[in-house]
Symmetry: C3
Subunit: 211 residues, 3 copies
């Protein structure tokens, strides 16, 4: 799959917008922020995962930093969240669906970039997951939340499954586009099932705090 | 502007000392730390922003890490804060002025380094702001504060304006030294106005927690 | 010292396992996590310090990320902690000893890698300490604890001493293996004395919160 094709970039930018919007809204709900804080956290949510991936891959400066469209779309998502603020709560469900689409896309595109740059099987899967959940984790650290990816529901697991399917398909010689499509769709469906039925990943035995 | 000239390096080291001192004092006020913690957080405040800038620019190892003077001056600032401790509170205002000077200098020098290494207009402005506020943000994360740059007063905004003026002046062919001087002075003045009159950046609409 | 010799790698992997186990157990005690969170935090504790070191040294992708054995051993340590959970509390003391061994090994191996890649005296010492305490610091940030290395007991200091002895021995021409052995043993002994007698590093004067 050509990661510079117009279709791919358009999909990627859609994911960036969704992550920036949802990331900024999450930040507004939790912390008392000004305009700089809201836009910064939206941009960090959208671009942080790809930046960590590119640092680990030594693909610097990060793509999301070199291409002005990424910075612009991410800033736009954060600004929309700032202006509309909590009145977007009515759109919480569509925004979650958009966020799940971003998660799926980032998981497969991150794994694909790892394979392109020659890392191993396991590392490519981990890079896909880092791309998908890294930005939200950085945001949660800045607003003093325990990152939701470590504690709640199905968020990291669909990203890992999606990246795994992409890598497995690539190894099996299925071609990038079919592998990526299968990986992204499966990630998207698992994530939506998790949202709909509030599925939780297993917790350690004897965790008395389990509600 | 020659960023290796003695004048530039002396100014830069003054900014490093101011950031390390103020950063360590902020950490002492908020968290219960031992000597390792105080000195580490002072050094991180002073050098962290430049390190993140150099990672994103692929200018590794970071300058602040390669040149022993940066490490020494930063450690000295942290040690002074540790020894003098809260008795420095009498000097809170001069230290804030020194910190504003560091902010101004880091904003323009960070943007300048970005331009030197060939990044675009917007990226250079962001790199200037990251250099200026990155270290304090890392410190706040380690002591479990929501980074003050995201929530309070004019801190990121003067850094962005200073970096923007430097980049705009450079594009307009005004030369590095005049552009950097104008950028730094404007950043410094806005920051001091913010400190003096407790100006706040806009908050999201409907933020009921607004005091 | 040949950092690729089987003996060295076996010792290094033992340290990785100890850090992943202890790191994941610490995380379980403090935060409410699912399986993804426990394993991720164990891996981050074990591999995070080396990753930060390799980023600062521009030795990317990080060794701990390139070699599948590091990822596998770290994941295994996290999984053991998840499955056994708080029933491992009976083994708290042996695990602390193992963790002190990991600390010692990472401090000298981190400093050694810095010297190999040509950084200066002070930087190599700092890199050793970062390798030893960086992973635990990242874990503490994610679970919203003020990093224990900044506040409590002898943890950073033995790492700094061990790295300093390695660097000093290397400069004095003692050879890598004797220097590393002395550095690691001294670090290990100081750390165990700190654990046994609950020694604390000095705090700032006038710290009224001192218990």
């Amino acid at each position: 799959m050509d990661t510079t094709s117009p279709t791919f970039v358009a999909l990627d930018l859609l994911g960036v917008f969704a992550f920036a919007l949802n990331g900024a809204l999450t930040a507004i709900r939790v912390a008392r922020l000004d305009i700089v804080g809201v836009v910064t956290l939206g941009m960090l949510t959208a671009l942080g995962g790809g930046m960590v991936r590119d640092i680990l891959l030594d693909a610097l400066p990060p793509t999301t930093f070199r291409d002005w469209r990424y910075l612009t779309v991410a800033a736009a998502g954060g600004l929309v969240a700032f202006v509309a603020g909590l009145s977007l709560d009515r759109l919480a469900r569509p925004i979650l669906v958009l966020d799940a689409a971003g998660l799926s896309l980032f998981a497969v595109s991150g794994a694909l970039k790892g394979l392109d740059l020659g890392v191993g099987f396991g590392q490519a899967v981990i890079l896909g997951a880092i791309t998908a959940v890294g930005g939200g984790t950085l945001r949660d650290v800045l607003i003093r939340e325990v990152p939701s990816v470590l504690t709640s529901g199905l968020y990291a697991i669909p990203a890992l499954v999606g990246a795994l399917l992409l890598v497995a398909g690539d190894r099996a010689g299925l071609g990038d586009l079919p592998s990526a499509t299968v990986g992204a769709v499966v990630c998207f469906v698992i994530r939506l099932i998790g949202v709909r039925f509030d599925v939780q990943a297993p917790r350690p035995p004897g965790d008395a705090r389990e509600a």
